[in-house]
Symmetry: C2
Subunit: 324 residues, 2 copies
């Protein structure tokens, strides 16, 4: 998936460089294999969206400088830990065009490295962060685990509706992005009302972001995605465009029989995607994305200073525009 | 493995009952599958050694009652999370005579439930515990992950020496038991010297405990263990008795060829255990257990009150005597 244009995060560029350096430093372990796997994961990059949003929202106030970096790093480490466990769970072989840790090493070391990254995340902030900030993060991890387990349990189940989907996306993605913004507002010392609004902005960005991800899994090319197209469908993950097509397509019975197949052939996946495309499910899903992005724009506190508001608005624009 | 006799933990009996109840309460999730797996793990029981030691050491001073229960619960949840991930990693099918979570459900849900338990553990103490206590726990988890990864990397490697083994056992087991005691002393408000001694007691108990575990994997019956005999050998985990026999047995070359086999037959395992037995490796290993236990008894602060000292001494006695 593409990176955010640099100018969006211009006002926190130095912070992000520091986060990148600190990620490499904090994962250092006397155990070589732990280093190798963790370094591979940091090098794999990613958009660093969560720490960036945390930092932006913190800059909306007057953050204590010594709190900023550890919290931004902790947020990204937690995200990395969930990704490495997700890749084990999904048997994924590539992410962002690179081999996953489980493919390059093995599932077992990957599970342990994920645990290590979770622990390092909390280790980074245990002494510095406010207690209620720690609690927000632990609760978000519980929520993400619940979301992933529900996704696993409901895989290949064509009888999920949009409400099921939205809850799952909240738990998997939006709650964490909301928390990243909320924690930023707390670090910046924003008042309660503004903090709640910034959190809601993050939630809406998270929903839009995940729905876009789910759309791109259907519409982008493998080269653009850095992983195979139709991956979700193949794994039985029933996303918004598929839910819409299962309800509205003239070929919904055929799609239903594809969705429930535990071992889909390439032909099945191709035909499934075709039915989804023809059902206008992509347009419907993008309308939902735009709805969330509009809400994100509207809910941003008017008290935020101009350049910061501009950055947060640009994030919303970019999430809506990205094509891979 | 056998439970501790009730009288050892008599003075914290009420606390342990409360821990048991709270474990069931805290794991409750709106997601049924998370509940089912977590409840299965709590029901599988175990000795609750770590929370018991925490509580005993806390009772050596004047703990804040409201800190005790969450910390004891968090300690056991972290232990449970490591066990469920270990079982995934070892492909274990039984633990304590019951099906493991990965066998009864699947690896994927088990990985996520382990993550959930880690997060619940820190969620339980995020608001109440002192920050340095949180830091002790996160650092211990990092250490445990490192120990497990080294164990994985060094499996089927016959060229490990006793120093490698001791480091691995420290990281896997003793550091966490040491931390449980240290956290207890901190909750009790013991002075720095006593806290350091209580920590050292826990470390020695932990070393003795794990070496005993490794001995029993060779000497106990499958019924006693609640899992197959010779499991470590079969998985390539080279434990102290094997390290000793690899150095001192007249059949060390034969043992070496067995240890390095990635797919050991039952006959291989049986013959391997036989060589270990004949090399007096069990006696040698028990001597190490007794050395650590004696150190545990000697290092206990003299300032601890009588019944508490008696309990902690009884723990040392029991670790030395248990036969399964």
């Amino acid at each position: 998936m593409s990176k955010f244009p640099n100018n969006i995060f211009g006002i926190i560029q130095d912070d992000l460089v520091a986060v990148e350096q600190e990620l490499y430093t904090i994962i250092q372990s006397p155990v070589e294999l732990v280093n190798d796997i963790s370094t591979h994961l940091v090098q794999a990059g990613g958009k660093r969206l969560r720490p960036a949003l945390y930092l932006l929202c913190a800059r909306g106030g007057n953050p204590r400088q010594e709190e900023l970096l550890p919290m931004a790093v902790a947020i990204e480490l937690i995200h990395m830990a969930t990704l490495v466990h997700d890749d084990v769970i999904d048997n994924a072989t590539t992410r962002r065009g690179r081999q996953t840790a489980n493919a390059r090493w093995d599932n077992h070391s990957s599970v342990l490295t994920g645990d290590y990254l979770f622990a390092k995340a909390f280790s980074a902030i245990a002494l510095g962060a406010e207690k209620k900030m720690l609690k927000i993060l632990t609760d978000v991890i519980c929520s993400m685990c619940e979301g992933e387990i529900v996704q696993l349990r409901e895989s290949f189940n064509p009888d999920q509706d949009e409400a099921d989907y939205r809850l799952r996306v909240s738990q998997k993605t939006a709650d964490f992005i909301a928390a990243s913004c909320e924690l930023g507002a707390m670090s910046g010392g924003l008042d309660e009302g503004d903090t709640a609004q910034v959190r809601e902005y993050g939630y809406a960005i998270g929903m839009a972001f995940q729905i876009t991800d789910d759309i791109l899994d259907i519409t982008a090319s493998a080269e653009q995605l850095g992983k195979p197209v139709g991956n979700d469908l193949r794994q039985g993950i029933v996303t918004l465009p598929v839910i819409y097509a299962l309800k509205n397509s003239p070929h919904r019975d055929e799609l239903r029989s594809i969705v429930t197949k535990q071992n889909m052939s390439d032909v099945d996946v191709k035909r499934g995607l075709e039915i989804v495309h023809e059902a206008d499910a992509i347009e419907y899903s993008y309308a939902q994305v735009n709805h969330f992005l509009q809400h994100a724009r509207n809910i941003l506190p008017v008290t935020l200073n101009g350049s910061l508001r501009d950055s947060l608005l640009s994030v919303a624009d970019f999430v809506g525009l990205r094509k891979f």
